[in-house]
């Protein structure tokens, strides 16, 4: 009974965006020697999924989403320490390299995507802003990610997305990695035109697309 209550509390804390409440519930999970993976999968994940749904449908806004993601990260830190201590395993969901394309200095949207992906359990390498095609290629070789996510807020820099994809092809790396594009200047038809694997109109839809392409459930 207590276990179910704590899992419900974790979920509710994420939905409401109250980090202290989420951390307290996670600490109680550890104290009671409950399964931390179960708490993560049945408490935190459904919580962030519900918030994501709300954002995608327009009922919730960006600050709601970011606050919930940060709440989840705070509680996840406690649970992950326990997972690592007890040697239990969480399923690995994938590695994502992220960056804003060359010429574009907008950081916050991409950082929010990074935060959300981390909260969903992805290993995220954030390259930063103004990332040249060669920097993406180098990161793909070095990090061997499952996905690269590229963002362009400016219409004038959107062409850089296609340039990176062309470079991946030239370097015989295109088949090794899925490419997702997004940002204010990008449309689904443009993503199709440059032969990206996926398009995320906003941070939440970008995360969903990443999960879809990697066949990650939940």
């Amino acid at each position: 009974m207590i276990e179910n209550d704590l899992i419900a509390e974790l979920k509710e804390a994420v939905i409401q965006g109250i980090p202290e409440k989420a951390v307290a519930a996670a600490e109680r999970v550890v104290e009671l020697q409950m399964d931390p993976v179960e708490a993560f999968e049945s408490g935190l994940k459904p919580g962030i999924s519900e918030v994501g749904e709300g954002f995608a449908s327009g009922k919730l806004y960006l600050p709601d989403l970011v606050l919930s993601a940060e709440t989840m990260k705070a509680a996840a830190k406690v649970l992950e320490a326990e997972i690592s201590r007890t040697g239990t395993k969480r399923s690995e969901v994938g590695k994502v390299v992220l960056g804003t394309v060359q010429g574009d200095l907008h950081d916050i949207g991409k950082t929010i995507v990074a935060t959300l992906l981390s909260s969903h359990g992805f290993d995220v390498i954030d390259l930063g802003v103004n990332i040249s095609p060669d920097q993406y290629i180098e990161a793909v070789r070095r990090e061997k990610p499952d996905v690269i996510g590229m963002s362009s807020l400016l219409t004038v820099t959107a062409k850089e997305l296609g340039i990176v994809i062309s470079k991946l092809k030239e370097q015989d790396l295109r088949e090794d990695v899925k490419v997702i594009v997004g940002g204010g200047a990008v449309t689904s038809s443009y993503a199709e035109e440059i032969e990206a694997d996926g398009y995320g109109q906003n941070a939440e839809l970008g995360v969903r697309m990443t999960k879809f392409l990697l066949s990650v459930e939940g």
């Binding site: 960006l62 600050p63 219409t155 204010g184 449309t187």
Partner: protein
């Protein structure tokens, strides 16, 4: 080049929430924490604002093939310019910026606390919007005193005036280096919380219209109702 020093910027916590892409009423109802953060960001961020408006008013010499030729030879060109500024006798080119101190601070804060970083960024967005609104009102009021009407403000990036064409044209007219605003080769302004626009003044201007209708992001932007309360 003249600099218009505006009075205190008129915006509050609701504008900061809107600057983060949120609807203030809904946030107030369900998340006092986000309202508190916006209040804190407004208090801290206001001290980092450096609002400056640079402007230049030039007579129109002629309109030729969608190119508006201004006194001294500068040009503004494109379908949107021809449509809205074609009937103008004068054009005011305007650059508003709130400087880089706030955005630098927001960037640093975001590394550790993205929620608060987003709130500080919202202060910057709200501030530059308030500055641009104040500048528009100032110049529109002046126009009325002279018996002129004014066009809607036209900014690079609107449909019919691409950023890569419009920004260099305005920068050539204003030379904004004097207020430490630079244009990158991709047409991005640094500091990013800066905004450029042109206003046409004349006896019979095309007035009214919704700025969002001419925005290049109108297909994907979910925040249009924040800029136009009548938008469904």
């Amino acid at each position: 080049m003249p600099i218009w020093k505006s009075q205190d910027l008129d915006f509050g916590v609701d504008a900061v929430l809107r600057g983060q892409g949120a609807e203030p009423g809904a946030i107030r109802e369900r998340s006092p924490r986000l309202v508190d953060l916006a209040e804190r960001a407004l208090e801290e961020g206001t001290s980092l604002l450096e609002p400056t408006t640079l402007f230049r008013e030039l007579d129109v010499e002629t309109l030729r093939h969608e190119r508006l030729i201004l006194d001294g030879g500068s040009t503004l060109s494109g379908t949107l310019i021809a449509e809205h500024l074609g009937p103008a006798d004068r054009v005011i080119s305007i650059l508003c910026t709130v400087g880089d101190a706030l955005e630098d601070h927001a960037g640093e804060v975001s590394q550790e606390n993205i929620v608060y970083g987003l709130a500080l960024d919202g202060v910057g967005s709200a501030a530059v919007e308030a500055l641009a609104n104040a500048a528009c009102k100032h110049f529109e009021d002046q126009a009325v005193e002279l018996g002129f009407q004014s066009s809607i403000p036209i900014s690079p990036g609107m449909v019919g005036w691409p950023v890569e064409k419009g920004q260099p044209e305005i920068f050539e007219i204003l030379e904004p280096e004097q207020v430490n605003v630079q244009l990158t080769e991709y047409g991005l302004m640094k500091p990013r919380k800066s905004l450029t626009m042109v206003l046409g003044l004349g006896p019979t201007m095309k007035t009214g219209g919704r700025t969002c209708d001419f925005c290049a992001m109108r297909e994907t932007c979910r925040y249009q109702d924040h800029y136009d309360p009548h938008h469904a």
